[in-house]
Symmetry: C2
DNA sequence: TGTTTATGGATTGTCGACAACACACAACCG
DNA sequence: CGGTTGTGTGTTGTCGACAATCCATAAACA
């Protein structure tokens, strides 16, 4: 075996886009998930397999399996022989979701401070948030905020934590989409993050934990009326 | 409507066991899950739908859906168009599982101390552990230990936390089944728990957190060789 | 009239058959 | 001999049809 080349030398180095083979159930799941997370499918809406199958022009099997995928995400609940529906969101569930998120993020912060991690990416996201806030770009701010927290979890270098956080954050997405976007001060939200990075850089565990904890709690406020669900 | 009776008066008050209608996929999932958690199906074992369908005498559909249920539990992983197999257990995953469990239990302890909760049940489980240890009953000790920790989580009164913990604890079950039962001192394991209850009763947050934290970490020790998987 | 028993429609659950796919190995050609 | 191109086999993916179940409403009965 010649060692100068990496095992396989492609005859055509041109990087043609690889056509990916995504199973139907996954495509269906993505569409439905997007609809739920964006609030187009409200909590309580019943999901009828036959109807969806016809509507999306796929077999009922694919719909079925897609819905089961959403069940794993905790976005759909099903009662045997009765039906499946978008999981209703109770006030209690919202509170639990945010409290668990807080624990996740605090855990991440602790791990980052224990094991060390490059903080550059966090600063990039902070800047993105500041820019978005300056532009009055709400969507951009939200996206950058998610990217920031996602990075925090990633830096903790804990695959299970990351997976759990992602699953949890989905519901947070949904909640945020359902609630009237209370136009709180964009600048303020953006400004909340740099101190967290600073505390991490300074190695100040207590401060970092307190800041991230307060921050996640802040966003947990919500108005129950805004997440009323369909029967 | 007459108000003296609760809506429906059963003609036969005899409490006959209601024959429950469990979907096939669930029965299949329970069997497979039990096999995985007990170590009869080792990590890495590939699960072939057709084979299982014939073996268990149900349609491939039911097997398929059952396996997807196990995927939700994180016990099975699947690669599209290639196959499904019992999720391999890496040393890292084991460590992550136990560290996340620690965070869950610490969270539970904190909540119990904040909101208050009756501790009677915990004492009962402690006694059961002591008894089992005195009898040299390993199985009994493990069962009581799980019951104790389950109760701790339940007392935290947090449905999402409880669900997450249950899912996580499944893997701990699996790990314990796979590892050579290192006959550590039964009395010692049993003795670790009452101080936790005492700290809870005394309202000593720091001590309770430290005790539960140390306790979960203790059990995280394992020998990688004992969880070697099949190809 | 009040209670029980059919009956119908809507929905999920289960099935067997066929299609799509990935991989390994044989056949072919320079 | 090296590399490419068929071909076969085992697996998952998708489908449409039928069975089981639940619920509401109507019919039958005392």
């Amino acid at each position: 075996m010649v060692a100068t080349k990496p095992a396989k030398a492609p005859a055509m180095p041109l990087d043609i886009a690889p056509i990916e083979n995504v199973p139907l159930r996954v495509q269906v799941a993505e569409q439905l998930r997007s609809a739920i997370l964006s609030g187009r499918l409200r909590p309580g809406t019943s999901l009828v397999e036959t109807a969806l199958a016809e509507q999306m022009n796929v077999s009922r099997t694919s719909i079925r399996e897609a819905i089961q995928l959403l069940e794993n995400d905790g976005l759909v609940e099903s009662i045997a022989y009765k039906g499946k529906r978008v999981k209703p969101l109770t006030e209690r569930e919202v509170a639990e979701t945010y409290s668990l998120r807080e624990v996740f993020e605090v855990m991440a912060v602790r791990r980052i401070l224990e094991n060390g991690a490059p903080l550059h990416q966090l600063r990039v996201h902070c800047d993105a948030m500041t820019d978005a806030a300056a532009r009055g770009d709400f969507e951009g701010l939200v996206a950058a905020d998610e990217a920031f927290h996602h990075s925090v979890i990633e830096l903790a270098d804990h695959a299970l934590l990351l997976a759990s956080w992602k699953s949890l954050y989905m519901r947070i997405h949904q909640i945020m989409a359902l609630r009237n976007r209370d136009e709180r001060n964009l600048e303020e939200v953006a400004g909340n993050h740099p101190p967290i990075v600073d505390a991490l850089a300074a190695g100040d565990t207590d401060l970092a934990v307190r800041l991230i904890s307060e921050h996640t709690q802040t966003l947990a406020t919500f108005d129950p009326a805004t997440i009323a669900q369909d029967p």
